[in-house]
Amino acid sequence: MSSSSESVVLEQYALRREIPFHERARVGLWRFITKKPLGAFGGLIVIIFLLMAVAPVMFYTQDPEPSPPRILERLQGPSAEHWMGTDQQGRDVYSRIVYGARTSIVIGFLVVVVSATFASLIGTTSGYFGGWFDMAAQRVVDVGIALPGLIFIILAVSSLKERFPPDFIAEPLGLTPASRVVFLIAVSLGILVSLGSSRIIRGAAIAAKQNMYVEAARVVGASDGRIIARHIFPNVFAVVLVSASIQIGGAILTESALAFLGYGVQPPTPSWGRMLNEAREQLTRHPHLAIFPGAAIFLAVYSFNMLGDALRDVLDPRLRGSR
């Protein structure tokens, strides 16, 4: 076990010295694909969803939001023309799923950006400085951990929907009322999950602080900011990345649950969860309306989790197999 991982390290060390980056990336990617086939499969699906989010036009077979609506084609089963059938307004379900990928992906990534930033900031400073600062910061973290996840997010989204972000930020950013809700869900969810993961990062930061080179850096007069940025953060980065990759799936799932309950993004912003909600009335006669959006949520979350799991094994072997 240890000897094989040692040889990998040595090999990587050698690679880093002699072989150009693109070659190293190719070898690294190939090793990832052969060693972690499921993770690579997840990565492939993730790339497809990312493409859908960035360039949905590449995937459309129909206009997802035709105007005027094609009422005559409503509630059709899957066919060659409509791969996944049509909904109650005659819109193509497949194209709407493609259209909805952007919302899920944007929320997933925004949550992770917010969460990773906050968690790294709180975690590293709290662990590094310790003392009263740590004490105070950890009480804030306690509050975040105690707040009841979905229940609190429902409250936050329904209360802040029209206030957040305030007009003086929303206007220059060009946020429409619909995109504001996307933003709100992502930020509130991101802050909430960041508090939980900041505690793990704090643990890693405390461990990193014990290293002699941190002591040495302090002796030569490095500032706290420099020590955190150059010596502590690189040590906790793997933990940050791993918890981020796991959080994307959770964020997509939470967004769809919110939309399903009616608190999520509002039309015209597409959402898989809302498609499921809208399908409820037609369900017994037209199950295709629920099968496909639900399968999309599952596939997206599953792929992100698979990729995250494989990344964790590669980047942070200590966490292997834990949640």
Binding site: R139, L150, V301
Partner: protein, 317 residues
């Protein structure tokens, strides 16, 4: 140990203050006047009516004064009256809480029923096809949206089976225990399956850790059978931390009940909460948020204490 408990209880005070403050502010962040919203349902009211209502629901005075007054009530476990029904919030919750509690306990039962065997098998057959299958299964369970499964099951159940169809009205446990359990079984299984992914992965990793211990190698070299080693030596130690992970999943479980109760029309706390949020019944919304947070805080403490009782190696100071 006593000092540790005392310290933890002391640390709860700032946490609870923080939770109540955040919930209080969040409820009041709704744009517009809550009183106007209430009156909206009855047509406009004059200034005197508004003032009277404001007093009745403790909405007079500035925010700080409101918070302190509300906190004083909360400490005495008085969450005020529901705006919609005008009944005491706790009294109302007494009708809904047992349903959610029953659903949650059933869900935990099902989650362990799935998670423990699969996690254990996955660990003792590490890196075999069985292990790979079990692990992908666990990740799939984490990724399946529970409300989707619920919708599909209701549809299919209506078409092909006779079970799993939500009955027209809720059957109370006291009226018909069997009917009640039959009705809650499917939603509880869906909830439990969602939870079991995490428990399974955790079970697997603690099992693997214990399997590598020296005393397990000793047991092998003594020539004990695999069954004895796994059940007597490994599981006993490996399953201790699993107890804790069940406690830590409480927030996920509560969130899950909100969704599943609304799909299956189960009159529990989750559905009550959703309707309260929609109706802006803020005393109810506040109460549920604070109570669930309280339960989570105490569950976290309980988990740590149970952990130290079950595992004498862990001593808090």
């Amino acid at each position: 140990m006593q000092r540790y408990i005392a310290r933890r209880l002391l640390l709860m005070i700032p946490t609870l203050l923080g939770v109540t403050f955040v919930v209080f502010l969040m409820v009041r962040a709704v744009p517009g006047d809550v009183i106007d919203q209430i009156l909206g349902d009855f047509g406009a009211g004059d200034a005197a009516t508004k003032e009277a209502l404001r007093k009745e629901y403790s909405l007079d005075g500035n925010l700080a004064a409101q918070y302190v007054r509300w906190l004083g009530d909360v400490v005495r476990f008085d969450f005020g009256n529901s705006i919609i029904s005008d009944r005491n919030v706790l009294g109302e919750l007494k009708n809904y809480l047992p349903v959610t509690l029953e659903l949650s306990l059933l869900a935990i039962f099902f989650s362990l029923l799935i998670a423990l065997p699969v996690g254990i098998i996955s660990a003792i057959r590490q890196d075999t096809p069985i292990d790979y299958f079990c692990r992908s299964f666990a990740i799939s369970l984490l990724a399946v949206p529970g409300f989707w499964v619920a919708l599909m099951l209701i549809t299919l159940a209506g078409r092909y089976f006779t079970w799993g169809v939500p009955p027209k009205s809720y059957i109370a446990f006291t009226d018909d225990p069997i009917g009640n359990l039959r009705m809650l079984a499917v939603p509880a299984m869906i909830l439990g399956a969602g939870l079991s992914g995490g428990v399974m992965r955790f079970t697997r990793s603690t099992m693997l850790e214990v399997l590598r211990q020296d005393y397990v190698r000793t047991a092998w070299s003594k020539g004990l059978s695999e069954r004895v080693i796994i059940t007597r030596h490994v599981m006993r130690n490996a399953l201790i931390p699993v107890v804790t992970v069940v406690g830590l999943q409480l927030p996920i479980l509560v969130g899950g009940t909100v969704i599943i109760e609304s799909v299956y029309s189960i009159p529990g706390m989750g559905r009550f909460y959703v309707s309260a949020v929609n109706a802006q019944d803020y005393p109810v919304v506040q109460a549920i948020n604070v109570l669930v947070a309280l339960v989570v805080i105490f569950a976290n403490l309980g988990v740590d204490l149970v952990y130290s009782i079950l595992d004498p190696r862990i001593r808090y100071s």
